[in-house]
């Protein structure tokens, strides 16, 4: 083991990657798969319980995060080497890597949300909306786990050099892809193809996405960080979109408005990878500019390029040419009425006046610039995290 990597508390022998970092890769994939599977489950089967495979996959991730992080914290606190203790932070008298504390909190929050959700249903009945206090706790827990994993990886990254650093960088960006995915999953309601000719869609996409993207790319330092992170998001969404319909399924909840024979896939990924690639390509040009100029250029360019590619692509997704399994525009949730815009392949004009449209678009550009600026600050902080 190299001298630099020996500072780590728990490592896979000979490779220098802490096992908790690897565990966070498994956790991210497990939670994201469970989440996508669960949304598809709700669109296909409708009815669920705590014991559905999708829920179990999500909670497996939560359990692994909570127990794995707790183990590392206990080990560092009570039998950690001086080096391990030096590379840790102190929270409530315990010692451990900062990422482990954040992930442990996230795991605990997710596990707590399950009985909380049960109690919520018993007290207030079945869900009519996705946003409820137990679901918010669940989403915060997921974000905690994924950011905990990313901060754990980046702390290791900042302490290493050479081949090990490159390897940690790939892991860090892989986890980063799932952070983007979680953010985009929460926005699914506003990124449906029927809204992709409305300003609201681009406003929602802008808010936060560039914060994550810039923070991840700046702390990674990888020349193609933005492309890799959005690539992970795109590939994961495509795989889930193509694999889910291979499984036969029927609704267990009515009223049923669509003939469902297999799991309903989620929509085609938003083409974030295109503006992300262009920003990576242009990075050498604007990397030395003042931070606000970077934010202005990065934020405006990202959203402008996204609109330039997503707008015509959305038109294509509405056309008969896209109605096949590859683009997944022929499968609808069981509850989609035959008269709904999605089923009729027509756009919804969210904003009823052109003034409202340009207001939302303007807010979208503003959100992009502000998100990028915060992302730069967050990324610079992350690139200094060593514990």
């Amino acid at each position: 083991m190299s001298e630099t990597s020996s500072d780590s508390i728990t490592q896979v022998r000979g490779q220098g990657i802490p096992w908790l970092v690897w565990a966070n890769v498994v956790i991210s994939v497990s939670i994201a798969t469970g989440l996508y599977w669960d949304i598809s489950w709700h669109e296909t089967i409708g009815r669920d319980s705590f014991w559905t495979p999708a829920h179990l996959l999500i909670q497996f991730g939560a359990l692994l995060a909570a127990l794995g992080s707790a183990w590392v914290i206990m080990q560092t606190s009570f039998s950690g080497s001086p080096a391990a203790r030096q590379n840790s932070v102190r929270v409530l008298g315990l010692r451990g890597p900062l990422g482990a504390f954040i992930a442990a909190w996230g795991g605990g929050a997710m596990l707590t949300s399950a009985p909380f959700d049960n109690w919520w249903h018993e007290a207030y009945g079945l869900d009519v909306k996705i946003i409820s206090p137990p679901h918010i706790l669940l989403a915060l827990g997921m974000a905690g786990i994924m950011w905990g994993g990313a901060i754990l990886a980046v702390a290791e990254l900042n302490r290493t050099e050479g081949a090990l650093r490159r390897k940690l960088d790939r892991i860090f960006l892989f986890i980063g892809g799932f952070i983007i995915l979680q953010g985009m999953t929460l926005k699914l309601e506003y990124t449906n193809r029927v809204l992709l000719h409305s300003g609201i869609s681009y406003l929602w996409i802008s808010a936060g996405t560039l914060l994550f993207l810039e923070a991840l790319s700046r702390s990674s330092g990888n020349r193609w960080a933005r492309t890799i992170v959005t690539g992970v998001y795109s590939i994961f969404v495509l795989i889930m979109m193509w694999v889910l319909p291979l499984f036969p399924a029927q609704p267990k909840l009515g009223p049923v408005y669509q003939n469902i024979t297999h799991m309903v896939p989620l929509p085609f990924p938003i083409l974030l990878i295109v503006p992300a690639f262009v920003l990576d390509l242009m990075w050498p040009i604007f990397k030395d500019a003042p931070k606000w100029q970077q934010a202005l250029f990065g934020g405006v360019a990202f959203l402008a390029i996204l609109i330039a590619v997503e707008w015509p692509f959305a038109t294509f997704l509405m056309s008969p040419a896209s109605r096949n399994a590859f683009f997944a525009t022929v499968d609808f949730p069981y509850f989609a009425l035959p008269t709904s815009p999605t089923v009729r392949h027509i756009f919804v004009q969210w904003e009823t006046t052109s003034g409202a449209f340009w207001r939302d678009m303007g807010l979208g550009f503003l959100a992009s610039v502000v998100s990028t600026r915060i992302g730069i600050v967050f990324g610079e902080w992350m690139s200094r995290v060593k514990r």
């Binding site: 409708g46 079945l126 869900d127 267990k252 009515g254 009223p255 049923v256 408005y257 069981y334």
Partner: protein
Amino acid sequence: MVKFMRKFLLVIFLLLPLALPAHVGNPDVYYDGYAGPYHLLVTLRPPLVVPGVAQIEIRSAANDVDEIKILPLRVIGPGAKMAPLPDTAQHSATDPQLYTGSLWIMVRGSWKVQIQV
């Protein structure tokens, strides 16, 4: 006379109750009928709120019933044409002729329950 009739009709019209749709505290629904040759007594307790879960109790007069399946369906509209998978009613451990189950009612409107023996 015409004036009087007009006034009379106006009073009658004003006295007529207006049609106000309201559905508060629906009482339980009881059904006594046959599913093929099987005589069934059905009690249905609608949910207090929608979406919610209705409870159903089915008592078979005969004791040679193997399985009962239950399925809630919309009475009219596009939702009445396609059905979700039916649920198998739970056989009571203490009463061999009693079956119970839950029916998920997700939207407001008129519903029916299909019972398959």
